[in-house]
């Protein structure tokens, strides 16, 4: 009988041995150093983690007693990872949060950032995205533009001039003009809409929902109604996308849509903003300056439509480790106000800064300059999709629009289910 044999006992023994080994190890590795501070920074944008590491090293060079440990989690796993950090008592000192629903979850942990020198530099139109319970607890990471990115070369070869597109009809005409030349230009579609990604579907929807709240993110966050005021225009745009996008639309994913379809000129437009800049210039230096332009969605269609400009992510400081709170604030001040940090942010992260009175000429490409001009102007408008209830984008809006794309439901059914689900989620999540 094997289980009684010596071989079996040896096996058991061999398996148990490491157990004692590890319990011994793990209790021995505690270190402490009195005046050194290690800040934990929770980052949810994986694409810029190396640049954050660089900023951290630069800061430590100037302040040798402060080191910054960056934890990155993203691609949908960020929210859960953050929840786990707080649950296990390892709250980070600086956290990157996406939208007021997430800020609201942690509001008891966040300190007020009022009066910080960094705060004073932020564009006023972006501040409401960091306010919870009338306290300013988050600062925008950057200024992002939302609209259609178009490939200038493809437009030129199709004989379309972007500066002549002023309203929805112009836009449709341009789309149709490109569409008939598809074969000649070697296009797989006019649009490279990444229908597989619910988050992109949500960010496009913000084009039609953001007008309802006068640029007040808090108001958007409090609302229990999905705003349908521009629903018919939303319907038209989604139909346009459904008809002129690369098929099958649901199997197009973000990375290939940018790195293959858009970069290789296989499509004319993708519904992405300036966050694609580093990727494109990473493949080919100078591509952005030469080839990338943006067109807004025409929603009100009265000449007032611009690219939406806002920030998806906000930085906050926690009160879980009072001793490190000041150091965390100092680091944030440095990131937002020092010239050296700014240089990394604009030239390596390729961000457009979210700060006032910035000298546009320092930005490395024309598109970024345009975006800053629009975002810092009086009629700047920020997208509000980050204020949708938790799970609304990935579990409700995204999947139902996908169904609409493949003719699984009608637009009427879609409106109905989105209205009810939006209210339901909001009511449950705001329960005090």
């Amino acid at each position: 009988m094997f289980f009684k044999s010596r071989k079996f006992r040896a096996l058991i023994f061999a398996l148990i041995l490491p157990l004692f080994f590890v319990t011994g190890c793990s209790s021995g590795s505690q270190q402490s150093n009195s005046n050194k501070i290690t800040l934990n920074f929770f980052n949810q944008k994986p694409e810029i983690s190396t640049q954050y590491q660089k900023l951290a090293r630069m800061y430590t060079k100037k302040h040798p007693n402060v080191s910054i440990q960056i934890t990155t989690s993203g691609q949908g796993g960020g929210a859960a990872a953050l929840q786990a950090k707080f649950a296990s008592g390892e709250a980070p000192d600086i956290i990157m949060l996406g939208g007021l629903p997430e800020i609201d979850r942690y509001k008891e942990h966040l300190v007020s950032l009022k009066g910080l020198s960094a705060t004073k530099t932020i564009l006023p139109s972006l501040l409401s995205g960091g306010i919870s319970n009338n306290r300013l607890v988050g600062l925008p990471v950057d200024l992002e533009a939302y609209g259609w990115s178009y490939n200038k070369t493809v437009f030129a070869r199709a004989g379309v001039n972007a500066s002549n597109i002023h309203n929805y009809d112009d836009f449709v005409k341009a789309v149709k003009k490109i569409d008939v030349q598809k074969e000649k230009l070697g296009l797989s579609g006019v649009f490279g809409f990444n229908g597989a990604d619910t988050n992109s579907i949500a960010s496009v929807s913000a084009q039609f929902t953001s007008q309802a709240y006068d640029n007040n993110q808090v108001k958007a966050f409090k609302s229990t109604n999905f705003p349908w005021k521009y629903g018919s225009q939303m319907h038209s745009y989604y139909d346009l996308i459904r008809n002129y996008s690369v098929q099958p639309i649901l199997s197009v994913k973000y990375d290939p849509s940018v790195q293959d379809l858009f970069y290789n000129g296989k499509v004319a437009m993708i519904p992405q903003g300036n966050w694609i800049i580093p990727t494109l210039d990473g493949i080919e230096k100078g591509f952005v300056q030469k080839n990338l332009g943006m067109i807004p969605f025409f929603v009100k269609n009265d000449g007032s439509d611009r690219l939406l400009t806002g920030s998806s992510w906000y930085l906050g400081v926690t009160n879980d480790h009072p001793k490190r709170e000041k150091a965390a604030k100092d680091f944030i001040n440095w990131m937002f106000t020092s010239r050296e940090a700014e240089n990394v942010i604009i030239n390596e992260m390729r961000f457009v800064p979210a700060t006032k009175n910035f000298d546009v000429s320092r930005l490395p490409d024309d598109l970024s300059k345009d975006i800053y001009r629009i975002g810092s102007s009086k009629d700047a408008r920020a997208p509000i999709h980050k204020q949708y209830p938790n799970g609304f984008s990935t579990q409700v809006l995204g999947p139902y629009i996908q169904r609409y794309f493949v003719h699984d439901i009608s637009w009427n059914q879609l409106e109905k289910v989105i209205t009810t689900k939006y209210r339901q989620l909001r009511e449950i999540q705001s329960g005090e």
């Binding site: 094997f2 289980f3 157990l19 590890v22 290939p256």
Partner: protein
């Protein structure tokens, strides 16, 4: 007679084809893990020219394999050890002392086996989260709690089959119940111990859902957890993902091939009893 022989070879042939077909998914994973990106794209069904073992090195590092393997081993061995000792002890007591308590405990065990993990996952997590106790130790504790019921019932059956005269003989020799249990009765049911160990090890080693909720953080990843996040990072680089899959499967397959007969007996026994 000749006809019989032909039909015999025919059936062997047919069965072998079925067997090959059944194992082909493993083969296809192995084949493509030893290629470049190109080869996977050209012909994923068979070998292509760009043979290389480099993927394994990349995957080994990306999976932080030694570390993840160690975490998996730690959690599995820790949980199984605890489960075995605790459930054997409890089953021994309720099999030897008949009475209302013993039957209540038996029915509690049978009853709790009905509760699917998904029905208690939310409160269990919030309970442990509230006291800031989410780490490898608490994972071991949860694994134990989730597995003792079945193990007690298995052991109960085995102890019923051990004659009480053994206990009595030991007691006459002056042994305490603990001593009787540890030195006389427990060794007598070692086949069942093997079954309990194998069943629980397989379950815990392969588990993803519970570890993903409890130890989803740097330094504590088990193999399935790490594999899941690695898969997300490979971005359509299938050859790397597949090399990771092969690495992740090796330990359990090797162990199975060593202990084949025992594993199959245990699995059957666990299901039937």
């Amino acid at each position: 007679m000749k006809k019989k022989k032909i039909s015999k070879y025919l059936s062997i042939f047919v069965f072998s084809i079925i067997g090959l077909f059944w194992i082909y998914p493993f083969a296809i994973v192995l084949i493509n893990s030893m290629k470049g990106k190109r080869g996977v794209f050209q012909n994923p069904l068979w070998f292509t020219k760009d043979f290389s073992l480099a993927n394994f090195k990349t995957a080994f590092q990306a999976l932080d394999f030694a570390h993840s393997f160690f975490n998996s081993l730690l959690v599995t061995v820790g949980s199984v050890l605890l489960i075995t000792i605790i459930s054997a002890a409890a089953a021994y007591a309720i099999s030897r002392v008949k009475g209302p308590f013993s039957s209540i405990i038996y029915y509690i065990c049978a009853g709790t086996m009905l509760i699917p993990f998904q029905s208690i996952m939310v409160p269990l997590l919030s309970l442990f989260g509230k006291v800031n106790f989410l780490n490898r130790t608490s994972l071991i504790i949860m694994n134990t709690g989730l597995s003792v019921s079945l193990s007690i019932i298995l052991y109960y059956g085995a102890f019923q089959g051990v004659s009480k005269s053994l206990d009595e003989a030991a007691a006459l020799d002056g042994a305490y119940p603990l001593k009787t249990f540890a030195y006389v009765i427990f060794p007598a049911v070692s086949p069942m111990t093997g079954t309990v160990i194998i069943l629980n090890s397989m379950k815990i080693w392969n588990d993803y859902l519970l570890p993903s909720l409890v130890v989803n953080k740097n330094g504590m990843y088990t193999i399935p957890l790490k594999m899941y996040s690695f898969f997300g990072e490979t971005n359509s680089e299938w050859q790397l993902a597949l090399a990771g899959l092969v690495l992740s499967m090796i330990p359990i397959i090797v162990l199975f091939l060593l202990l084949q007969k025992q594993v199959m007996t245990s699995v059957t026994e666990g299901a039937i009893k």
